[in-house]
Structures are given as C-alpha cells and as structure tokens.
C-alpha cells in the first residue's frame, strides 16, 4: 500500500499541453477519481503514473519512491484498461495469472490467488474459457480480476465502465465500490462520467485543459463548485446560471436578476458589497429551486416551457427572462406548460460567481 504524489507534472503532445504543472496528493488507500471532459488530460495523468508516458517535467512518487524514470513493470501498479486489453490468446485463468507469472511466483501460489480473485469477481466458472467466449461485462471483470490479483500498491482504472451498457455499468459501479472497500488499495479512477465520480470517489479531482480545477470530497464538489465549469459539468441536469447585477445600499447588498431583487445569504454580504454595480453570476442546482404560489422574498417570475415527468421527480424547463433554467420538483407538483409561476431561490444554496472569470466567490468566514 502506498500513497501517490504528483509533483508539477507537465506533459506536452505537439502543441497541446495535456498536463500543465499538475500537483496532486493521494492518500494511502484512497479512491481518487480524475474527472473531466475528453481531452482534459486525466488519462494522460494516469498514464504518467503508470509509466506509459514519459513526463516532460515534474516528478511522480509512489509511496516514498520516486518512480518518474522507472519502467511500468518496476512501479508496483496494476491497471484496468478502457478497452480491457484482456489477451485474446489466453484463457481467463492465464489472463488473471499473467502478472504473477511474469513475477515468477510459484505455481500453487498463482493458482490460489487467481482462484481467489476469480471468486471475488464471480469468474470461477469461466476460468477455462477464452475471452472471445465471454460477454463484454465478463471480459471487464477479467480485466479487474487481473489487476486486483497483483495486490499492487496502486490500482489504476482508465474509464473501466465506459464500454458497458447502462444497466451493467450501474451494477459494476456498485461492484467496484464493494471491491475497493474489501481490498482498500490506493485507487486512481479516470472517468468523464460525473455520476460515476460522485458514486465512487473518496475525493474527486476535476480537470479542465490540463489542470486540476477542484479537488475535494464529492459532496463539496457538488454543493460548492469552484467555478462555473465544475458546476456546469457536474449534476444531471447541471447547475443553472443566471446573470445579475450587485446593488449595495445601507441594508446590505441585493442582486438584481431580471426585475427581481434577491438577497444573498449573510455570509456573502461582505464579499458582494465590494462588487457594487458589477455584473455577477448566480449558480443554483435544479433541486434548490421551488415553485412559489405568489410573489415573495427571493422569487423571480418565470414561465414553464416543458414538463418532463421522470418518475421520482418532475423536470421543468423554465424561461427566466432570456435564460433557460432547469427545475426539479416533486412528482405530484401540479404544473402545466406555458404557465407563469414564481420561482423561489434558496439563498443558502446559491453559488455566486464572478461574471468575468466564472470563479466562485468565497463566503466570508466570521
């Protein structure tokens, strides 16, 4: 077991900067998710850790060892590939045993460990089969079994679920979480799927354009996105953003959105007063908006455009001024398209952001 430390990792492909001075520390036994859209550098970072890419700058540490210049086989890692890369010419048993055989382990130890990890992944009945005789989901389990059998200090997973169909993905997600609770290996998991990230990660590092923009526990990432990008990337549907202008007077600041005045939570009063007259961005999640029967404090006039009953909740598409916002309401909420309603903003749940940079404005801690 070992922690991992990326120290100012830089990796350039031609003119593209895939990793721009990335530093990140992962604790021993932690499940860290690297999350971001395609091309953000998350897979590159993982491959730098695996030794499959040479870094152009910075150091990589596994435990206390500087592994920057070591070959993949000397890094004591195991990896699950996006394509699984399960060897087609080897049986399931030999695939799982591959790494142990390369280490020259005794035959009975190999047999015992392969059978144990096959049992963990419910592959016991398939050990004699070839990959071509397995379903995609089973092949994926072979790839995972091959990795965990190594009992490596570090387990790397590169979008392991992305080639599975939706239902299987859901099952395997819970399965991977159970597995991690059992084996407790330090795990780095790369995905572009924010639901996977929220579900699996002890912490999530959100990446954009070769940088980590936020690294925190899932609920903090969800509730307190560091900027507009993170808020817009995470959540289904993502955070709503509305432009407003700060008005500060003697009673504290208000934010004018359309024709309404919203009063920010007290913790933001100081920070927003300093921005008197400046444009600002209001970010709020769909479930933190409610329909109000009449005009009251912190409400805005809005028109219902689309109503989507989704079973557990209703998803409304609302026109707020010139902007579109998604609102999630209880399934029994009575609402019809083209109805004009009052939308209530919970001030405690609003994430204020700088209109120009998209960076979140911090609350004042008193």
């Amino acid at each position: 077991m070992a922690g991992i430390r990326f120290q100012s990792i830089r990796k350039v492909f031609g003119k593209t900067v895939a990793a721009d001075s990335v530093s990140l520390e992962i604790r021993d036994g932690e499940f860290m998710v690297l999350l971001g859209p395609s091309g953000c550098g998350k897979t590159t970072l993982l491959r730098c850790l695996a030794g499959l890419e040479h870094v152009d700058g910075g150091r990589v540490f596994i435990g206390d060892r500087d592994v920057t210049d070591r070959a993949p086989r000397d890094r004591r890692i195991a990896m699950v590939f996006q394509s699984y890369a399960v060897f087609p010419h080897l049986t399931v048993f030999d695939n799982i045993a591959f790494g142990l055989k390369m280490q020259g382990r005794p035959r009975d130890e190999i047999k015992r460990r392969v059978e144990e990890s096959a049992r963990l992944l419910e592959l016991t009945d398939f050990l004699k089969r070839y990959p071509a005789q397995l379903s995609g989901g089973q092949r994926q389990r072979v790839a995972v079994a091959r990795a965990i059998v190594m009992q490596a200090a570090v387990l790397l997973m590169d979008e392991p679920l992305s080639n599975l169909d939706a239902l299987l993905r859901l099952q395997m997600r819970a399965e991977l979480k159970r597995l991690h609770q059992e084996i407790k290996a330090t795990t780095i998991y790369v995905t572009h799927d924010q639901v996977e990230a929220l579900s699996l990660g002890d912490r999530i590092a959100v990446m954009q354009s070769g940088r980590i923009v936020q690294c925190d526990v899932p609920m903090n990432i969800y509730d307190y996105p560091a900027n507009k990008f993170v808020g817009g990337f995470i959540g289904t549907p993502p955070m709503n953003f509305l432009p407003g202008v700060v008005h500060a007077n003697g009673d504290g600041p208000t934010v004018v959105v359309g024709e309404s005045h919203l009063a920010p939570a007290p913790a933001f009063a100081h920070a927003l007063s300093a921005k008197n007259g400046e444009p600002i961005l209001l970010g709020i999640r769909p479930e933190n908006l409610t329909l109000a029967p009449n005009q009251q404090a912190n409400t805005i006039r809005a028109r219902v455009r689309v109503v989507e009953p989704l079973g557990s909740h209703k998803l409304l598409t609302m026109q707020v001024g010139t902007e579109i916002s998604k609102v999630s309401v209880a399934p029994d909420q009575r609402v019809a398209p083209n109805e004009d309603v009052w939308l209530h903003f919970d001030p405690e749940k609003i994430r204020w952001m700088d209109a120009a940079t998209g960076e979140a404005i911090s609350a004042t801690v008193e």
């Binding site: 990896m79 890369a85 060897f87 087609p88 010419h89 591959f98 089969r129 070839y130 990959p131 071509a132």
Partner: protein, 287 residues
C-alpha cells in the same frame, strides 16, 4: 434501373482481373495438367511422372528444393520477426531502414541472382575484399561443383536477402494492427521486452505468421532464377528442372509433370500451415 446498375458495377469491375486470371493462370494450370497426364494418343497416363522420377537429376532436385526450404524459411522468419519488431519500435530513422529492407522487393529474382553472382564469383567483390584484407591470398571458389556446401551457402544467403523483406512486410503489417493496449498491459503487468514478445506479441501475430509462412514456402518451392544464376544445374531444384525439360530437352510433358509436383507440394504445405496454425474454436469464440 439504378439498383440494377449498382449490382452490375462490382462485377464489371472484377471482369478485367477475372480475364487476366483465367488467361494467365487458370488456363495454363489446366494445360499443365493435360500435358502431364496425356499420352500422345490423348489417353490418360502416368508415364511422364515415371520418366520424371527415373531421371538422374530428380532425386537431387527434390532433395535440394527441400534443403533450401528447411535452411531458408525458418531463418528468414526469425530474421523477419526481429526486423519487424525493430521497425515497430519506431526508433529514430526507422523509415530509412524500411526503405533499405524494401530494396530486394523491387528487384527481379534473376537480377538478384546475377548481382549475387558478381559478389561470389571467383574474381567477385567478396573475393576482392577478402584478398585485400589479406584473409586469402588466392580467390576462394564459392561457386565450384567441388565445394557444394559453399555453393549451397551462397544460395541461402542470396535467397534470404531477396525474400526476407516480403516476410517482414507481412509481419510488420500484422504488428501494426495489434492494439497498443496489449503491449501496454504486458508492460504494466511486469513483462520484460523479451517476455512480452514471447508471450503476447508472437501469439497475437499468429495470423500474420501463417500468411508469411504460406507465401514464403510457395516462393521457396518456386525458387529458380537465383539458384540458376549462382549454381547453374550443379544444384538442381524442381522449378529449374521443369524449365530445363521444357527449354533444353523440348519435352513439355515432363516439364508439366514437374510443375504439377510443385503445385501438389505447395497445396500440401499451405494445408499444413492452415491446419497447424489454426486458432482453436474456443479461442475464436465459436462455441
């Protein structure tokens, strides 16, 4: 009408090739069989084959053809695997090597034979170099009927030079379609380069190896011009005997009998490779 023209188009595009194949391959094969099995009165006969087998050179031709096969093919395949793996690492300047390797592909076998003749002959390049280095004070007779092993060796060298490139090309193409993930998985799971090659790359290369072996073995059975240029008829081979019976002895029937024999060996070898290198049904996922 549109649908119809679309059905006809692919066939019409195949027509020129079909005509070519029929005129230059199918018809001659048919004629060769007729010549090989037909008596002057048009009745069926084995007489030509009997005459072929009783010929003094037949045993030698058979033996040398197989000896060349046994010496050249395995060596060539090993050499070609190494060359293909080297090129596949994409080291700096690998394209230059690719061009150099490809030169023999562009040269006809007779030209290659003559080029090697100018190297190995009594006053050839090799003897001049050996002489100037002071290794031999008088020319070494590589191409003498009194020194069959040396003569045979020159043929092995020349044939290897000429036909290893095609094997390498096939193997390199095969290497390039193996997904990079398999190489990386082998690396991550602790394989050294040698182990990766033995346990991952070569097994995955099996279909290409099969193709390369089939093509190379067919070529080996047809070996003729290089041998002829270097050894004349001192080292007879089956294809050369066929040529000799046709041109020198003006006996197309026995020439055809040799040709049919080469064809039979070729088909047998191909069947052997297809069978021996077959992916098991389980591995292919058929059951």
């Amino acid at each position: 009408m549109r649908v119809k023209s679309e059905t006809i188009l692919p066939y019409s595009l195949l027509v020129p090739t079909l005509i070519f194949v029929i005129l230059l391959i199918v018809v001659p094969i048919g004629q060769a069989f007729l010549l090989a099995f037909q008596a002057p009165d048009s009745s069926f006969t084995f007489a030509h084959f009997q005459k072929m087998a009783n010929d003094t050179s037949f045993g030698d031709a058979l033996r040398f053809t197989f000896l060349l096969l046994i010496f050249i093919v395995p060596m060539q395949v090993v050499l070609a695997i190494i060359m293909a793996l080297l090129i596949h690492t994409r080291f700096k300047g690998h394209t230059l090597f690719l061009y150099i390797y490809a030169i023999p592909l562009a040269i006809s076998d007779l030209a290659a034979g003559i080029a090697w003749l100018s190297i190995f002959t009594e006053r050839g390049y090799l003897n001049s170099i050996l002489n100037q280095l002071g290794i031999f004070d008088k020319p070494f007779l590589f191409l003498s009927y009194q020194n069959l092993p040396a003569m045979f060796g020159t043929i092995v060298v020349a044939e290897s030079w000429r036909a290893t490139a095609i094997v390498m090309t096939i193997l390199l193409a095969g290497l390039q379609v193996i997904p990079r993930d398999y190489f990386e998985a082998a690396d991550v799971f602790g394989a050294t380069t040698l182990k990766r090659t033995l346990f991952v790359v070569l097994p995955l290369l099996r279909p290409s190896l099969q193709n390369a072996l089939i093509i190379r073995t067919i070529f080996a059975f047809q070996t003729f011009a290089v041998v002829f240029a270097l050894a004349g008829r001192v080292i007879p081979v089956l294809a050369g005997e066929s040529y000799n019976w046709y041109v020198a002895n003006r006996n197309p029937n026995i020439a055809a009998a040799y040709a049919v024999l080469v064809l039979i060996f070729t088909v047998a070898a191909t069947w052997f490779y297809l069978h021996f290198f077959q992916t098991s049904a389980a591995e292919a996922g058929y059951d």
